[in-house]
């Protein structure tokens, strides 16, 4: 790691400066994470009296558990939908805003603020909108002949959390897409236009390839968002139900620990999530290094 060529000399000052962050990191990050690792190989009996070392049994059991596999599949399809929809909508909006130079900033103002809305609050807002008895969206769907009920129908509940999570995430993606598009030199698109390429052709052959680093970066960010930050959406609305329909992994870890009191299993799930975050972070950093090379 690089440092300054000119540095200060002091015996204890640097330690004092870095100590607060290190202490907090050790107590609230490193120690709990190691505890999760440790507990993931233990099993407690029903009364919490005996704890046995069980090796990989918790993990084996998880992957043999239909509920867990189901939760994994649910999470993956949920993330794919949230990332896909929020990036797709954001890209369309950004292309539109990029073309209208003069009012692009006005539209940016109109589109960025949902990012400030907490996922849980976004969930409650849409929960209300789709409420089967009084919600206006449910009413409209009823008019179209669809009997919406997210309390009974797993598909409806999933749609609801996808919509709420997407709604909030579009603004983030929009900002990055707009910044990416505006960084593309105008001379390129103008040259293509002079050569007779229409807007669609210009987008496919010039803008999209130049935007690909942004797309890649956003995929990682959106997957992380859908995997971890959407806990609030699920907890404040569907509570994982009906049945297991919206029981995403983060929610399941929480529920198994605090409601199921199944510590070993919850710890094993935490460890699996940790591995996922580490993998996603590694991918993100590889991308950043590539960007530096360019």
């Amino acid at each position: 790691m690089r440092t300054k060529t000119v540095t200060f000399r002091h015996k204890w000052l640097p330690y004092a400066l870095i100590a607060p962050q290190i202490v907090i990191t050790l107590i609230f990050f490193i120690w709990p994470a190691s505890q999760a690792l440790y507990q993931s190989v233990l099993r407690q009996d029903a009364f919490g009296l005996r704890t046995d070392f069980v090796g990989m049994a918790n993990f084996v059991r998880l992957f043999a558990d239909d509920n867990y596999i189901n939760s994994f599949v649910t999470t993956i399809s949920f993330s794919a939908m949230v990332a896909g929809f929020s990036m797709g909508i954001a890209l369309i909006m950004a292309i539109m805003a990029d073309r209208v130079i003069r009012r692009a900033m006005v539209y940016r103002t109109l589109l960025i603020w949902p990012y400030a809305v907490a996922p849980a609050v976004a969930g409650v807002l849409w929960w209300f909108l789709f409420n089967p008895t009084i919600g206006i969206a449910a009413y409209a769907l009823d008019g179209l002949g669809y009997d919406w009920n997210h309390y009974r129908d797993g598909g409806d509940a999933m749609t609801l959390i996808v919509v709420a999570s997407t709604w909030r995430q579009v603004s983030y993606n929009f900002l990055f897409f707009l910044a990416g598009l505006q960084a593309i030199p105008r001379s390129l698109t103008e040259a293509a236009a002079i050569d007779g390429a229409g807007p669609v052709k210009r987008f496919v052959t010039i803008q999209l390839p130049l935007l690909s680093p942004t797309v890649f970066f956003l995929i990682v960010v959106n997957v992380v968002y859908a995997f971890f930050e959407t806990f609030g959406v699920v907890h404040a609305t569907t509570s994982g139900g009906p049945g297991q329909a919206t029981n995403i992994l983060v929610y399941k870890v929480w529920r198994d620990a605090f409601e199921g009191l199944n510590l070993g299993s919850s710890a094993a799930q935490s460890v699996i999530l940790m591995v996922l975050v580490i993998a996603l972070t590694a991918i993100q950093f590889r991308y950043i290094e590539r960007k530096v090379e360019y």
């Binding site: 790691m1 300054k4 540095t7 200060f8 002091h10 000052l13 640097p14 400066l17 870095i18 607060p20 290190i22 907090i24 990191t25 107590i27 609230f28 990050f29 490193i30 120690w31 709990p32 994470a33 507990q39 369309i92 909006m93 539109m96 073309r99 209208v100 130079i101 109109l110 589109l111 960025i112 603020w113 990012y115 400030a116 809305v117 907490a118 996922p119 849980a120 409650v124 807002l125 209300f128 009084i134 919600g135 709604w167 603004s171 983030y172 900002l175 910044a179 236009a193 807007p199 970066f217 971890f228 609030g232 404040a236 983060v250 870890v253 919850s266 935490s270 999530l273 975050v277 950043i288």
Partner: protein, 281 residues
């Protein structure tokens, strides 16, 4: 614009306006619902604001929804403010100091310290829920402002951001300060801090929103109603057991919960965008 295509331009504005309207719609409807009586809302949500705005808002702010076990909203708003500000200021202070140490000093274990901080990137609260809760419980920090904020203030991203920025500060400044006899802390206070002002402000906006919108953590560490934050408190009202949810009051709560961060973003848009892009770099 590359060429004139009036029809395309029209389509663009139409899509953008429609998109913006779709974003505002849920909030607009929540606001409308919060200005009606319970009876009016339960008969199908009206599309225009009603006359009960002042009554509903003063009710939730002053008394809360006792049936749903929620304290008055002003308490939750205050708790949210305290938590968001403690997290924001805490993160900024400890990251500034540690970035300063890592960049401007050579000392044994520097790399170890740096990696220890780096690892926090890979350990969000969500993946170590139970053990972190146990640590906080053992330290007796449940139901306290310290418990709400301190475990969240270690931040690798803020440290990286400041490190990145300090690396761009010219060495001549450091040399000049040293020749003039300034010690490290004087250099930090009189030269580095003023130079970091814009970065500080941008980070402040991002971190305030991060802190305000915390959900899982307050849910874990608070059982005492007087420490509820508004973002986690709203869920108690929406899931108030057997009782019919009082939607007009819940929506008033939702509006109050989202107003502060939205105002911050809109008022400091430039800083917000800058902060967001910097943090993710």
């Amino acid at each position: 614009m590359v060429e004139r295509r009036p029809f395309l331009t029209f389509i663009q504005h139409a899509v953008l306006i429609l998109g913006a309207a779709m974003f505002v719609f849920p909030i607009y409807l929540a606001f409308v619902a919060s200005t009606h009586t319970a009876a009016e809302v339960s008969g199908g949500v009206p599309l225009l604001p009603g006359a009960e705005m002042i009554r509903n808002y003063s009710l939730v702010l002053g008394e809360g929804i006792s049936a749903a076990g929620a304290p008055p909203l002003w308490i939750m708003l205050m708790n949210s403010t305290i938590m968001a500000l403690s997290i924001t200021i805490g993160k900024i202070v400890i990251s500034l100091l540690s970035a300063f140490a890592v960049v401007y000093f050579k000392f044994p274990f520097r790399m170890l310290a740096f990696w220890t901080i780096f690892v926090t990137l890979m350990l969000p609260v969500e993946v170590r829920i139970l053990p972190t809760f146990e640590v906080v419980a053992q330290l007796g920090m449940l139901n306290s402002y310290a418990g709400l904020s301190i475990p969240l203030i270690a931040s690798a991203t803020a440290t990286f951001l400041f490190r990145q920025f300090f690396m761009t500060v010219p060495d001549q400044l450091t040399e000049a300060a040293r020749i003039d006899g300034a010690g490290p802390m004087k250099f930090f206070r009189d030269i580095l801090l003023p130079l970091s002002r814009t970065n500080l402000a941008a980070l402040f906006v991002i971190l305030f929103i991060y802190g305000w919108n915390q959900y899982l953590w307050p849910l874990l560490v608070t059982t005492d109603e007087s420490y509820y934050t508004i973002v986690m408190g709203i869920q108690r009202m929406a899931n108030a057991g057997e009782e019919t949810p009082q939607w007009h009051l819940i929506m008033a709560t939702a509006i109050l919960a989202l107003l502060p961060p939205v105002v911050v973003i809109l008022a400091m848009q430039r800083l917000f965008v800058r902060g967001l892009v910097e943090v993710e770099k």
